[in-house]
């Protein structure tokens, strides 16, 4: 027998954090018929985070809760900022286990393992749909985090999620787990009793000639075609712009020109943002770079980004019979690329694909995690510059 999933969304942009959290949760609760089984919370990093969560918990007291700070929030009408979004889910069949792992910047694999283990212990032996991951957007070891989760859930587990942001300030992001506000952590919800459809795409295209990662370790790229990687990368921007990029820090501008790793089994480029040009001439990247991989500099365009959003939505909704809710986790760099007006059009296009009556909400992130085409390892699937569409349905 089909079990329906009910989802209600609330939002508030009141400047007082507690009131914003409370108002958003009240709105969401008012739209939900049954008792909530899970709360997803996305809050602007400008809010006082503890007060924000207190406001939410004042309404959704005992409801399992995960979430994180953002680089902007997404509502059905389009992108917003300085807002708290609360998503409440209710279903007779929905089961959730919540978990958190700390110190993701120091011990990413252990953090992933801990989060997955706690969640799995809570869910016990219920059927597992997938693991929704929200992590610190300023940490880079998500390949290891994924491995840590797979250590618990197995390599076939579907892991999807996004990395918390801080409104492009790149100083501190926050993760929410029940009543706690965490930093440098990963939190996750292991779902059972619902169905998922996952779609991810980015819309960046290669522009440079392919170059070989002749020396790389984890997420540090030392050499490209045996030349210092930073010099090769900077050469594409010219000396003046490169100096400015160094001055401003690459976290802001580097996301517009990521490195693309061509997937061996599919016509797909995994994206890696360049986070910093290091003193030893290496590049610090947002994800792992396999040594010997063929890399190309990528460039985005608004049209490609819009097309990619529609493709991700199609990919996510295709296996779903009755989509009940679409969670949108989208790279902050895409918001920069599109601008607010076109970002709203992009969301409208996603809704067109999924169905205009399907509730949709989410946030802008510093990284996206989703399984790619068959043959792509989970560790490789953490990327940036992408739009992740996660469609939920009843069991």
């Amino acid at each position: 027998m089909t079990q329906n999933l009910f989802v209600s969304i609330g939002s508030s942009d009141r400047p007082e954090a507690r009131r914003a959290g409370q108002e958003a949760a009240q709105q969401a609760a008012a739209g939900l018929a049954g008792p909530a089984r899970l709360a997803l919370v996305f809050g602007s990093s400008w809010f006082h985070q503890e007060q924000l969560l207190q406001g939410v918990r004042a309404v959704a007291r005992e409801v399992p809760l995960i979430g994180g700070s953002t680089a902007g929030e997404i509502l059905p009408e389009g992108p917003v900022s300085h807002t708290c979004v609360v998503i409440l889910m209710a279903s007779d069949s929905l089961r959730c286990g919540i978990g958190a792992g700390r110190d993701v910047h120091l011990q990413p694999r252990e953090a992933g393992h801990q989060a997955a283990l706690s969640a799995a212990q809570e869910l016990r032996d219920a059927s597992r749909t997938g693991f929704l991951l929200i992590g610190d957007g300023l940490s880079t070891g998500y390949g290891q985090v994924t491995r840590g989760i797979q250590d618990v859930l197995g390599t076939s587990a579907v892991i999807a999620g996004g990395m918390a942001g801080d409104d492009l300030r790149f100083t501190k992001t926050y993760q929410y787990c029940n009543g706690q506000v965490l930093e440098r952590a990963v939190v996750g919800a292991l779902f059972g009793g619902v169905t998922w459809g996952v779609g991810i795409a980015h819309g960046f295209a290669p522009i440079s000639k392919p170059r070989c990662a002749t020396r790389a370790a984890a997420n540090v790229l030392y050499e490209l075609d045996t030349l210092p990687a930073a010099a090769v990368y900077e050469d594409y921007f010219g000396p003046v712009a490169a100096r400015r990029l160094r001055e401003e820090g690459l976290t802001r501008s580097g996301s517009a020109y990521p490195l693309g790793i061509r997937s061996e089994s599919a016509d797909y480029w995994l994206l890696r943002n360049v986070l910093a040009l290091q003193a030893d001439g290496s590049l610090l990247c947002s994800g792992e770079i396999p040594e010997g991989a063929s890399l190309q500099l990528m460039i985005g365009s608004k049209q490609l980004a819009m097309d990619a959003a529609a493709a991700a939505a199609r990919q996510a909704v295709e296996p779903m019979e009755h989509p009940a809710f679409a969670l949108l986790l989208e790279s902050a760099s895409r918001l920069k690329l599109l601008g607010r007006e076109q970002a709203a059009m992009e969301i409208a296009r996603i809704r067109q694909v999924i169905g205009r009556d399907v509730p949709i909400a989410g946030c802008y992130t510093y990284g996206e995690q989703a399984p790619l085409a068959a043959g792509t390892s989970g560790a490789m699937a953490v990327q940036t510059g992408s739009v992740l569409v996660l469609v939920f349905g009843g069991s």
Binding site: P15, S44, W46, F47, S81, H82, D167, L168, R169, F170, T171, I207, S208, K209, D235, Y236, F237, G238, A241, R244, E247, E248, G249, T251, R252, S253, A256, Y257, L297, I299, K336, G339
Partner: protein
């Protein structure tokens, strides 16, 4: 693959050549030679083709490099476009935020409220990550009105550092926004500020209104560089000016508010004082009335005795009177009557003022009312051959105390008769004006001097008209009439042209239509109420 073929061919040519050399005269030698030549020819062609392929490859590589160079150009152009677009978007958003802020600040706000206006949205739209807006209530003092992106402890530490150093004074003396950069500034105060804020660049601006509390604005940027911060100085200057203007308005608002409060306090104070004075006057007046009533009562008894004894004597009760005695007794009686009238009037005025004579609220038939009046004054009219005209203009009813109103009208008519020469005309008019009945009593008499008009209704006032020198009066008739009309919630006014006559106008509330009127009073006392204009 082709290299392998070439190697085989070279080996084959070498072997064939050696075999040919070793087997001269052999019948297969020409064949071998042919093979050798063919191979050599093939090698020659292949060599040429290889050279061409190498050239093609070099050309391809060059084109590939060219494309990569073009990619660099595209990326640089794209980066510039991105930056320009981003900057335009940010500036547009900043201007919108400034506009919104201006709208909010248009409403009169207190100075503290203006300094509390810095919020996360404003700071982030301007492209900054941290911000503080402080006010200086006294020179050298600083209090944060609002701050964003830093904790209370950090803000307090920053405040202590700023007031300890020269930064605040500098900012207030030179309020124009200035960019501080950790990489560029040698000033230790600036370095400390940036360190405390935890940012590489910041923009600091003074807020110096023409009137009101000065302050300072500090905005810190975490990520972007010096160039971006400098570009923002202009926008920050607009923001600081907007805040300064709002503070000026706020100061004016405060001043106006304080003045208004002061004025309201003064008005309340004066009203209270006037109330007290009025209450005191009322108390005095009541005391006066009580005194007058008491004295009048005390005078009445001996006066009655005087009159009584005089009457007895006049009737010869105590023996016959000679003519001189009779004449004196008649004077005693006449003056006793005048004194009694005076006492009655004084008592009536006192009673009406103190509310001890309640006015009835009856419906009075105008026709009967006027008839009674006419009957009362007819002898006086006849004595002076005066013409008496009445115009009631369809008014059929009055409402009030018939006896007291009759008294008032008799007073007015008696005055009119008194001051109108023989064969003159007295007119009584009645008309309805809205919710009022307006009655008038006019004469063609000597009129009243303009300077006397304001005092006409005062007690004991008598005009200087020649006739008053001949006729005695109490000076209470008009005062009593005014009290009666006012006790009916009416008004009495007078207009006069000296030598042509006077008109007294009474305005009384009209009775509602449709109620049965009451017969007019037949009490003659009204006719005896001292028909005097003045004493």
């Amino acid at each position: 693959m082709s290299n392998r073929i070439v190697m085989v061919l070279i080996a084959g040519v070498t072997i064939a050549t050696l075999m040919t050399l070793g087997s001269a005269g052999d019948p297969y030698a020409p064949v071998m030679m042919g093979i050798i030549l063919s191979c050599l020819g093939y090698l020659a062609v292949k060599s040429q083709s290889g050279t061409r392929n190498a050239q093609d490859l070099r050309r391809l590589q060059a084109a590939y490099e060219q494309l990569d160079q073009q990619a660099k150009l595209i990326i640089r152009t794209d980066l510039d476009l991105h930056r320009t677009q981003e900057e335009l978007d940010r500036r547009l958003a900043s201007l919108m935020a400034l506009h919104d802020l201006a709208q909010q600040l248009r409403v009169g706000r207190r100075t503290e409220e203006v300094f509390a206006k810095l919020d996360a949205r404003l700071v982030s739209v301007f492209g900054f990550s941290k911000g503080l807006l402080g006010m200086c209530p006294t020179p050298g003092a600083l209090r944060w009105g609002s701050f964003v992106g830093i904790s209370s402890q950090e803000a307090e530490a920053l405040r202590a550092d700023i007031i300890a150093g020269p930064l605040l004074r500098d900012v207030l003396e030179h309020p124009r926004p200035q960019t501080l950069s950790a990489a560029m500034t040698p000033d230790p105060a600036h370095q400390r500020l940036l360190k405390a804020l935890g940012v590489p660049t910041a923009v600091v601006a003074g807020i110096v209104p023409q009137g009101g509390m000065p302050g300072c604005l500090i905005l810190g940027r975490t990520g972007a560089g010096l160039a971006a911060a400098r570009a923002d100085e202009e926008l920050v200057a607009i923001l600081a000016n907007q805040l300064a203007t709002a503070i000026e308005n706020s100061a004016l608002f405060d001043e106006t508010w304080t003045a208004r409060q002061e004025l309201e306090r003064n008005v309340q104070e004066r009203t209270r004082e006037l109330g007290e004075a009025n209450a005191k006057l009322v108390r005095f007046n009541n005391a006066k009335n009580d005194f007058v009533s008491a004295v009048s009562h005390e005078l009445r008894a001996p006066l009655a005795a005087i009159k009584g004894y005089a009457a007895l004597m006049a009737r010869g009760q105590f023996g016959p009177l000679n003519p001189q005695q009779a004449e004196r007794l008649a004077k005693i009686e006449k003056h006793s009557d005048a004194l009694a009238q005076l006492i009655n009037d004084v008592l009536d005025i006192a009673r009406i003022e103190s509310g001890r004579t309640p006015m009835a609220s009856d419906f009075i038939r105008v026709e009967e009312f006027l008839a009674v009046l006419h009957e009362l004054i007819q002898p006086q009219l006849a004595a002076k051959h005066l013409r008496y005209e009445v115009d009631r203009d369809g008014v059929t009813q009055l409402r009030g105390d018939a006896q007291q109103l009759q008294r008032a009208f008799v007073n007015l008519l008696s005055n009119a008769i008194k001051y109108t020469p023989d064969r003159g005309t007295i007119r009584v008019g009645l008309r309805r004006e809205g919710t009022d009945i307006v009655a008038s009593v006019s004469d063609t008499g000597c009129g009243i001097a303009t300077e006397e008009l304001p005092r006409l209704f005062q007690e004991f006032f008598r005009s200087n008209a020649a006739i008053n020198q001949q006729v005695r009066g109490t000076g209470l008739g008009l005062a009593l009439t005014k009290r009666i009309i006012e006790a009916h919630h009416g008004q009495i006014t007078v207009s006069s042209v000296e030598g042509h006559g006077s008109t007294f106008t009474l305005r009384l509330p009209a009775p509602p239509t449709g109620e049965a009127p009451r017969p007019a009073a037949r009490d003659r006392r009204g006719g005896q109420a001292g028909p005097e204009r003045g004493p």
